[in-house]
């Protein structure tokens, strides 16, 4: 296992996709922070100005990186060299997972460094306490590493590198969209005001909320078991965690970290069992 890790790290430091990914994510972070300065939250802390928005985009970088890095082992069949000399599929999978986790840390560090540098140069500061800031940074890393585990799983299942990258990016995109839908669904108010019709002039009719009428239940408000499931997914899925981190609305760091670890462990276990059954060509 140690020798496999040593070999994969040797490849990692020579991997162009790692450095390209880091540069792209750093530029993305600066661009997002620059745009946030034009909004209404200029006076607030840097953490509210898209500083943690990189957590939304790191899974895309990790998906592409995994497809290229792990996919190369499968599509160029170099994985055979590892199996022939006695390494198991499980060891190979775990080694790739660890290397991907390290690459993900680099992918997070690059935009954090670039964002902080850009913010400080423009006179912005963090307004959160150092404990809270540390919590955000740790949760960003944990969430991104958990998303990386999913990218490893997808890359491991597809022997064709291009297909693997495409599926991995699609999975990241679906999770990203799913997180936005989930966020929208959970932020719905339980009740909504009733509207009354008002006529302006001869031809214009508008509907306005009537404060004199009692509020009615919101049909889009999720209730019961469905709401419990949505709330669980909101905490459990890395894309949802990334949305919370981007909006800087994390209430408690402990559960978020725990769910990231659980997601990582679950996905890695599933990936291990599937990969160990896979026939290598």
């Amino acid at each position: 296992m140690r020798s496999l890790l040593s070999a994969d790290l040797y490849r990692l430091v020579r991997s162009k996709s790692l450095y390209v990914g880091m540069v792209c994510l750093a530029l993305m972070e600066v661009w997002l922070m620059k745009n946030s300065a034009q909004g209404s939250r200029v006076v607030e802390g840097m953490e509210y100005q898209n500083f943690f928005s990189f957590t939304m985009f790191v899974p895309f970088g990790t998906a592409a990186f995994c497809g290229l890095f792990f996919g190369a082992d499968l599509s160029h069949k170099t994985i055979r060299n590892k199996l022939i000399c006695g390494h198991t599929k499980g060891q190979i999978y775990l080694s790739h997972t660890l290397v991907t986790a390290l690459a993900t840390v680099c992918f997070c560090a690059a935009p954090m460094g670039a964002g902080a540098g850009y913010g400080l140069l423009n006179g912005r500061i963090f307004t959160l306490s150092s404990e809270a800031l540390l919590g955000y940074i740790l949760c960003s890393l944990a969430s991104s590493i958990a998303a990386g585990a999913l990218a490893v799983l997808v890359a491991a299942l597809f022997p064709n590198r291009s297909v693997g990258i495409l599926v991995s990016l699609l999975a990241a995109f679906v999770l990203f969209c799913g997180a936005q839908i989930l966020c929208n669904s959970l932020s719905q108010p339980e009740t909504i005001p009733q509207f009354t019709q008002q006529t302006l002039g001869e031809n214009v009719t508008i509907y306005v909320p009537d404060p004199n009428l009692p509020q009615v239940p919101n049909p889009d408000y999720a209730t019961g078991a469905f709401r419990i499931i949505l709330e669980f997914l909101w905490k459990f899925l890395p894309a949802c965690q990334a949305t919370q981190l981007t909006m800087a609305t994390v209430e408690s760091f402990g559960p978020l970290l725990l769910f990231s670890v659980l997601f990582f462990a679950l996905v890695t276990l599933i990936g291990l069992s599937l990969f160990c059954q896979k026939n290598i060509q």
């Binding site: 140690r2 070999a7 069949k77 022939i84 000399c85 006695g86 026939n279 290598i280």
Partner: protein
Amino acid sequence: MEYVLETRGLCKHYRHFNALDSLTMRVPKGAIYGLVGKNGAGKTTLIRVVCGLQDPTAGSYTLYGKRWGERGLAQARRRMGAVVETPSLYPDMTAVDNLKMQCRVLGLPDNKEIPDLLKLVGLENTGKKKARNFSLGMKQRLGIAVALCGDPDFLVLDEPVNGLDPQGIVEIRELILKLNRERQITVLISSHILDELSKLATHYGFIDGGRMVREVSAQELDAACRKCVRAQVTNIQALVWVLDRLNREYSVVDDKWVDIYGAVNISELVGELDKEQCQLLSLKERDESLESYYINLVGGERDG
């Protein structure tokens, strides 16, 4: 005899296809074992299973005395190297980097053997050229060099001369012979280019439909393939008496035909047969090559 690899009733089933069907074989230590079979016979599947890329569905195999599933098999695998189908290389790395990578995989970070390996396979002057820019022959040789990392004493080569030009074929053949003679490396080599294989192999395994049809040594094959004259006579017993009297080596094919080995003096044979009131009906010269031996063997088994 000591065997590097033994398989017993090895089976590999894919959904609706039996790639290996109770295959049993033994590769003696120090041999160049030629695995002969047409496309789809199961050669590559056998190699994949033996190399640990795929698990057998049933049966078992033993590598250096360690049975499949035993704890010590991973350690035994470190004594083998393989090139399965195409060489497994990182195309964006140089020859040296590919070898460094394999040394790390094997836990040999000092890279001491890399210059010797490159020299052995004739790639010492490739410099910073990436593996993707190598010719097919160079890739094949680099693949063998990667397989030789860690100084293995069992080398598995699957169709190593496929797609190579004549010069490349000669280079690979000489390399394999050199490894076998100078480093005492046991080689399992699969090919359907029988003429090429006959220049290398000391043992043969004929595989068809996922089954081992026959295992023979090169000496046994030479004996089976040597030149002979097939004679047809009216009285087979008379011919046998005559051949015994003339002290000739022969083998009775059936009740009409006899194979006579060595040069035959036809006048003398006809004269001796005449004394026994036996007529020579026909004579056919036979020169069985590995190819015709294989076709007869596989065809015969199928007919049977």
